[in-house]
């Protein structure tokens, strides 16, 4: 129970500065965005109120929207079900085998701090056709697997997975860092107690680390979901959503609609949809983990 009983003014003094900046500059724009989502507006001229027509168009008429949703969820799925578990595994292994883990964990984090401009350029040269010096294709040809070569970023069925791989690679270190600090924070007494009961090594991980690290896993998964839904820069740098929308995701679709196609109202509606999906997913993830935590404790 919180102990400090203070006056309303004190509470306000503590909370208001932060809340006002946040509400004024993040929340108010979103209210505006909810409003513009009901408009037919090119972003410059007069806006006309059209009710929920933008949403109707989104669900029934826009050939790009649903595939973009599907791709966004594919990215989020890979991120939550592959990236986070791998990160957890690496974190456990590091805790187990490495005596001075700081350098390793920090280095794994490095791609996160480099700008997307660098990451995008690098991976484009990796994915390029062999004739243009592309690494993967050159290696495939060298080992005699010429039939496996692809134009990774331009074949509509493959391109999105090529981008997902980059995204997974870039943010792996982020999740390793989160999981690692989580494991670090598990009190060692618990392991010692378990050892007396005969649980050590991977058995200890299964019965102690996993349940104890659940709350962190939840943070990781929520962050990876939200991050996936907002991922945008990488796609713009690598394919700009092309060829023919084959790598379009929700965030890039929203940007293109708002500022390139000049349907700002419709772009706002997509943005609102994106936020709504995030909200629902976060609630669902929370529910799931509450159940898991109950079962384990």
């Amino acid at each position: 129970m919180n102990v400090l009983k203070v006056s309303r003014w004190t509470i306000a003094a503590f909370i208001m500065p932060c809340l006002i900046v946040y509400l004024g500059l993040v929340f108010v724009p979103i209210l505006v965005s909810i409003y513009s989502g009901l408009m037919d507006w090119n972003g410059i001229g007069k806006a006309t109120f059209i009710g929920f027509s933008n949403y109707a168009k989104m669900f029934t008429h826009d050939p790009v929207f649903w595939p973009a949703v599907r791709r966004t969820f594919t990215l989020a799925g890979f991120s939550m079900l592959v990236q986070v578990p791998v990160a957890l595994l690496v974190a456990i292994l590091i805790t187990r085998f490495v005596r001075r883990p700081n350098f390793l964990v920090s280095s794994y984090f490095l791609p996160v701090i480099l700008s997307v401009a660098i990451i995008g350029q690098l991976w484009k040269t990796i994915y390029n056709p062999a004739a243009m010096g592309g690494m993967i294709n050159q290696i495939l040809i060298k080992v005699g697997l010429e039939s496996w070569t692809h134009s990774w970023l331009t074949e509509p069925k493959i391109a999105i997975y090529a981008i997902i791989l980059v995204s997974l690679w870039q943010y792996l270190g982020y999740h390793i860092l989160i999981q690692f600090t989580g494991i670090q924070n598990i009190p060692s007494e618990i392991y010692e107690a378990a050892k007396i009961d005969g649980a050590s090594g991977f058995k200890a991980d299964r019965y102690i680390t996993l349940p104890m690290v659940l709350p962190i896993l939840k943070i990781s998964i929520v962050l990876s979901f939200i991050g996936s839904l907002q991922s945008f820069d990488l796609i713009m740098v690598m394919t700009a959503g092309g060829p023919a929308h084959a790598t379009e995701v929700l965030a890039s679709h929203m940007y293109n609609m708002s500022f390139i196609t000049m349907e700002y109202g419709y772009g706002s509606a997509i943005a609102n949809m994106l936020i709504l999906i995030c909200l629902i997913a976060t609630v669902l993830i929370n529910l799931l983990f509450t159940r898991l935590e109950k079962r384990y404790s």
């Binding site: 500059l25 050159q138 936020i275």
Partner: protein
């Protein structure tokens, strides 16, 4: 491992079990090494890239080294990229943002977690909602807000939104941490008759350094490379930040790739330095609060 022992509130984690040189260890280290190569390679690649000519960059083989090392790219980056001025602006904007985020978010996190009042949880939820909002979606409304505040084309028009967008994650991390601190530590201060602000300053602030460092680095990463807001709200040459320098080598029908590479190296340097300086603190503070100790 001993460096973790000092971490507030939590004990050292599971110890590295006795290290015999076994096959398992070997496999693990090969794995760590391979991962390390893939994660560090971009830096090396960027260094080489920054020393090539445009032709080498656009058509050369992936593994090729430059024929002649183009150190001129770096002088281009510094001279025509306005590196020094932009660096100064970036440092100012980033530092002010970090300071503002830390100060305001920790005050808010303190109020949410330590005060006895009804709406703490609600406020917390409000902040969490902010994490889901895509920055691009706020560009146009922000423009209108700043126009009416008469702060367009000032550093304030960057610092304010940067702060605002970092606050959700900052409040989240800081309040997660504060929840784990036992209430006893402020009880004695209350006995002494300390007010809320004194408790915050002399009891809470000192122990919150690790999560604050985490907030710092996350803020730094997100602010340092930000370009869309900066390009939209800043027009004066003397106020521009580092990402402008990167894009100053992109003209309509030509791009000076080598100079971009050099500029990216120069722009990434401070981040990497700051990051490795703070790295130790980060690994402690990231999610300090999430596991029940």
């Amino acid at each position: 491992m001993s460096q973790y022992a000092s971490s507030a509130g939590s004990k050292p984690a599971l110890k590295v079990r006795q290290r015999r040189f076994s096959l398992k260890t070997l496999i693990a280290f090969v794995f760590f090494g391979a991962l390390l190569v893939t994660q560090l390679y971009p830096l090396l690649w960027l260094l080489i890239y920054s020393l090539k000519t445009n032709d080498e960059i656009l058509s050369g083989s992936f593994f090729a080294l430059p024929k002649v090392w183009q150190w001129g790219n770096y002088s281009d980056a510094v001279d025509s990229g306005n590196y020094i001025r932009y660096l100064g602006n970036s440092l100012f904007v980033t530092a002010t943002t970090m300071f503002g985020v830390i100060l305001l978010s920790s005050l808010a996190a303190f109020a949410i977690t330590r005060f006895r009042w009804k709406y703490g949880q609600l406020i917390m939820l409000l902040f969490l909602l902010g994490m889901m909002i895509p920055m691009q979606g706020t560009l146009l409304p922000l423009m209108i807000i700043f126009k009416n505040m008469h702060i367009l084309n000032t550093h304030l028009s960057l610092i304010l939104p940067y702060m605002a967008f970092q606050m959700p994650i900052a409040v989240f991390i800081l309040s997660g941490f504060l929840r784990t601190i036992p209430h006893e530590i402020e009880e004695s201060a209350i006995m002494d008759g300390a007010g809320a602000f004194r408790i915050f300053r002399s009891v809470i602030l000192p122990v919150s350094i690790p999560p604050m460092m985490t907030v710092c680095i996350l803020t730094f990463i997100n602010v340092w490379n930000e370009y869309i807001l900066a390009a939209t709200f800043i027009s004066s040459e003397r106020l521009k930040t580092l990402p402008f320098g990167v894009y100053s080598f992109v003209s309509q029908y030509s791009v000076n790739y080598g100079a971009i590479g050099a500029f990216l190296v120069l722009a990434a340097l401070p981040v990497i330095v700051v990051y490795f300086l703070l790295a130790e603190k980060i690994t402690k503070g990231m999610v300090a609060g999430a596991v029940k100790g």
